[in-house]
């Protein structure tokens, strides 16, 4: 099996597993209890919070553990908006956010908020001019993703942070795909809130973080016990928290070196695909993209059948984001960067891990070539295109 869907989820690393296991079975005290077992648990939990904070350039007390990237996003948007609605009712985001952001924003529209969805260019980047122009007196929140989960493009986060800070507007970033791969410093980049999710960097599923800068006015999302300094109720998922902290640390060890290798392999993949498969397109920015992301469209064929055919060779990949693969609509991200529907339907995301080898990439390219050819031979669109002498009539 060749696993090239690391943006969807990742296996838990052995060292991470080893870190977690004692907290399931031995150091299992409820951190809110008084006795030694719980004090030990609590100490380790707080230590993990400190370690996560350090990796983000945040303070320990600014780290809140949640159950997922989705929860962090929902909390950040809905409860910041609700807590500040007297100040204003305008939110700015982009057209290519993850659905956790987009659908949370839509919910806020139902509650009377106005949302601006910024356009992106053909490489998936917003224009800072557009951003500045969209700011109004009523703007209370800017939420723009750190890096896109489908096409990998990285947004100009420090620049956005600077603009938001100068205007006194809270800036949230969904960094679910960026964390563990890019160096992030929330203070230097003027980020007020940041979402991350453990399972995207070889940590466990069901655990996430919302960083909330001190002084940001936000309501709780989960009400109940006094956990997480009264801000996020529910018995702490200590094994998950310990696993997340460990996986985050491991992922940031020698990050530059690993990225160098990853970028090389990614670029090798991109070059060969573009050169060897006719009518293939790279989506997203050529260089300013996640080190592990490659996203293509292959004209005249459809994405799902491409995935099924690759799966026959043990190659695990996805078309767009994992969570929308059940849907019939093409990716909102690919449409937003200007692709026509019929081309957007034929997309393939290959997301590498630090362990991906050149052999795996070579094998994948070979299979991809034959699969694309087979599916084109099956395609009435390709037939028409060839009949037309290779000229488009779309």
């Amino acid at each position: 099996m060749i696993y090239l869907d690391n943006s969807a989820t990742t296996p838990v690393k052995k060292e991470v597993m080893d870190e977690m296991i004692p907290y399931f079975t031995e150091i299992y005290g409820n951190p809110s209890s008084l006795y030694k077992l719980s004090r030990d648990t609590k100490r380790n939990l707080e230590d993990a919070r400190e370690r996560v904070a350090k990796l983000l350039g945040a303070e320990k007390d600014e780290i809140y553990f949640t159950a997922s990237g989705t929860e962090s996003d929902n909390w950040a948007i809905k409860q910041l908006a609700r807590a500040n609605k007297k100040k204003g009712n305008h939110i700015i985001t982009t057209k290519i956010e993850h659905h956790a952001i987009l659908h949370a924003c839509e919910e806020m529209e139902k509650e009377g908020f106005e949302v601006t969805y910024l356009e992106v260019d053909s490489e998936g980047k917003i224009s800072l001019d557009d951003l500045i122009k969209s700011i109004k007196d009523e703007t209370i929140l800017i939420t723009i993703m750190y890096a896109n989960n489908e096409i990998g493009s990285i947004m100009p986060i420090p620049e956005i942070g600077k603009i938001a800070r100068e205007k006194g507007i809270t800036f949230h970033t969904d960094a679910v795909q960026a964390v563990g791969k890019l160096n992030i410093d929330v203070k230097k980049e003027n980020i007020d809130m940041l979402s991350l999710s453990g399972h995207k960097f070889n940590g466990p599923r069901g655990i996430g973080v919302l960083y909330i800068r001190k002084g940001i006015k936000i309501n709780s999302f989960m009400h109940g016990g006094g956990q997480e300094r009264g801000k996020r109720a529910g018995t702490e998922n200590v094994p998950g928290i310990m696993g997340l902290a460990k996986a985050f640390e491991i992922s940031m060890e020698n990050r530059e070196e690993k990225n160098k290798k990853s970028v090389e392999l990614r670029d090798y993949l991109i070059e060969r695909v573009l050169n060897e498969i006719p009518y293939s397109i790279l989506n997203g920015h050529r260089t300013d993209r996640l080190p592990n992301n490659a996203n293509f469209c292959f004209r005249f064929i459809e994405g799902e059948s491409l995935l099924l055919a690759l799966d026959n060779f043990g190659i695990c990949a996805s078309s767009g984001s994992a969570c929308t693969s059940g849907s019939l609509d093409p990716s909102h991200v690919l449409l937003a960067i200007g692709l026509p529907h019929e081309i957007a339907h034929g997309s393939l995301r290959l997301s590498l891990s630090d362990e991906t080898t050149k052999e795996e990439i070579d094998f994948t390219i070979e299979k991809l070539k034959s699969v694309v050819e087979r599916l084109r031979n099956m395609s009435p669109l390709w037939e028409d295109f060839v009949r037309n002498g290779g000229k488009d009539n779309v």
Binding site: E302, H341, M378, E383
Partner: protein, 125 residues
């Protein structure tokens, strides 16, 4: 999500290809929605002696095309017109709810090809 039968037809589609100078051709669906099916017919004495398809679409689209062509090959035009999408789904041991529309498309593609055949015959008369 797909039955073994669907996967088998996706991996080894029957009747995939073109017919030169076909007696009828039908193309339905559109690229925007992600599914296009084209059916070619060769008809002799009202019997479908050969049928081929080309499909742009998901695994279910390919499998329903393949199965539908299998089901009408050797049949009379009238028998072929009686083919329902339900029969195609059943022959494939079922489809996920979100993919039922593919079987409808297959039924429609066959009807469109027969329609074309009938029109051509009328023109020839």
């Amino acid at each position: 999500m797909y039955s073994d039968k669907v996967m088998e037809h996706f991996n080894s589609p029957r009747n995939m290809g073109e017919i030169e100078n076909p007696d009828g051709v039908g193309t339905v669906g559109n690229a925007k929605c992600g599914d296009i099916m084209r059916i070619y017919l060769e008809v002799e004495d009202d019997i479908i002696v050969d049928v081929k398809f080309k499909t742009f679409g998901c695994g279910a689209a390919v499998a329903t095309s393949s199965m539908a062509t299998e089901l009408i090959k050797g049949k009379t035009i009238d028998e072929a017109l009686e083919l329902t999408n339900k029969a195609v789904v059943e022959a494939l041991d079922g489809l996920p709810p979100a993919k039922i529309h593919c079987s409808v498309l297959a039924e429609e593609a066959i009807k469109a090809a027969i329609e074309d055949y009938k029109n051509k015959r009328k023109d020839a008369e």
